[in-house]
Symmetry: none
Subunit: 252 residues, 2 copies
DNA sequence: TCGTCATGTGCAGTAGTATGCACGAGTCGG
DNA sequence: CCGACTCGTGCATACTACTGCACATGACGA
């Protein structure tokens, strides 16, 4: 039977999804082709990041969550500076929505214990970090989006619609005048928009490396948020451009 | 059966997680390979920092590597035994509600990575612990009850009403024939009841010290759950009494 | 229609890797 | 100190992977 190369690769990926593994020799026999061809396919799939090669065959891509653990440990000085600056935005007695991400986690860790505040978050990591804090904590539930470790999806959006807050401290992965605020996941972008609507003010936590960067999915325009907290050099061309566009920038 | 080298290493790591130890000779017999191969695998895993070699086999990475806070979280051997036994109750492809608490956390940590399962939990700690696991995770939101680090209260109950599961692994602080299953917080008791109604079966995780104990707030009667998983001595008078009352006890 | 080019496939040869076995050294517990 | 066990190393073997090449196919343009 004649089979298109792309069909063959789909079959290989299907097999990986179903069985969680794949032996090159077996697949060659099953698809009636040579092992070389299977190996070539697997090599290309691996390069495309769709599978992982192992001796003898392939396995599905590793749950790419290990990266978060590493990111979590290093609250870089940059993120730390931004987090410290964010503390100024939090009024005593107010309600704050804390986004996921390392900068927000740093904010949670730095929250003064004598600050009376209610924290709403869709990040279980942040909820856990606040266990020792006297603050009232409200968790938004939903499907756990493993990459950023936040509740996400329709259920999370629905839960978010039930709350109101004074301030939303939002994390993004890109801040540019042309693309606005962007992030790497479409569901996450929607969740951020929902949370933003539930707060009187939204401030963006943007450590240095986010300034001038752009990710695939737009979250909000720059004029839809109250301002940006960043530790980037005030002379930074992008910051200068933001200032010209009347975007408030809180210098960390 | 053809087994990929990488699969073999995964199996070894799983075994270390569940049993906390591993004997090279036994694993060689079990995986139908030579001791040399097992030893080579263990050597490589040790180099990668994923286990520690000891004479005769291997143990998980030194607890000394974990922080003090982390060590506090380490389940007692009793809870570990119960958690291991609970794994048997989890069917591939099923949906499990995991309660809060250290025993449930241990279950989450021990979940084999090749077990296809959906986990619903109101514990952010457990959600975070499952980040590296391929399982689908659904978080129930609500007010964070700091003492047990779970979402609780009316909002959590409402969220719980939206889900259904095959199994609820419930933690309690007291198991007695006369008082039934009890816990220390009235909201938590209500939450456990709600979760129990959302699952086809409820099993109670009761490590040794819970047997015979009673806490202020009743959760359910003993005849309202499918059974109890405990590592207490089968000769224990309370267990004997439970047996007379037709309560199923899964011996850990 | 023909030649040419790009592409995909299979084959052969070579390099690389995994495994099991044998042997000597090391380790353990009495 | 001894016997039993475990460990590491070197080696032979079998398997897997990669490279270069030949061949077939189909597209494209002259």
């Amino acid at each position: 039977m004649q089979r298109l190369a792309s069909e063959r690769k789909e079959l290989l990926l299907d097999r990986l999804r179903v069985d969680g593994r794949l032996v090159a020799k077996d697949m060659a026999a099953e698809l009636d082709t040579s092992e070389d061809t299977i190996r070539r396919d697997l090599r290309e799939l691996a390069v495309a990041g769709l599978c992982r090669r192992v001796y003898g065959g392939a396995i599905p891509v590793a749950p790419a969550a290990a990266s978060y653990a590493r990111r979590q440990e290093i609250a870089t000085t940059s993120k730390h500076r931004v987090a410290v600056a964010c503390l100024e935005l939090i009024q005593p007695g107010s309600t704050v929505i804390l986004d996921g991400g390392t900068t927000a986690l740093e904010v949670a860790r730095l929250l003064p214990h004598d600050l009376d505040v209610t924290v709403i978050t869709h990040s279980p990591t942040i909820a856990v970090a606040l266990v020792d804090h006297p603050a009232e904590v409200f968790i938004l539930g939903g499907r756990l989006f493993k990459h950023s470790v936040v509740a996400s999806g329709a259920a999370a959006a629905e839960a978010a619609a039930q709350v109101s807050a004074d301030l939303f401290l939002m994390g993004v992965t890109g801040v540019r005048p042309d693309t606005g605020l962007t992030t790497g996941d479409v569901d996450e972008a929607a969740m951020k928009r929902t949370l933003s609507r539930r707060a009187a003010q939204t401030w963006v936590m943007a450590s240095e490396e986010k300034i001038g960067a752009a990710s695939p999915f737009p979250v909000l325009r720059l004029d839809e948020v109250a301002g940006i907290v960043s530790d980037a050099d005030p002379q930074h061309p992008v910051l200068a451009e933001l200032a010209r566009a009347d975007v408030r920038v809180l210098q960390a």
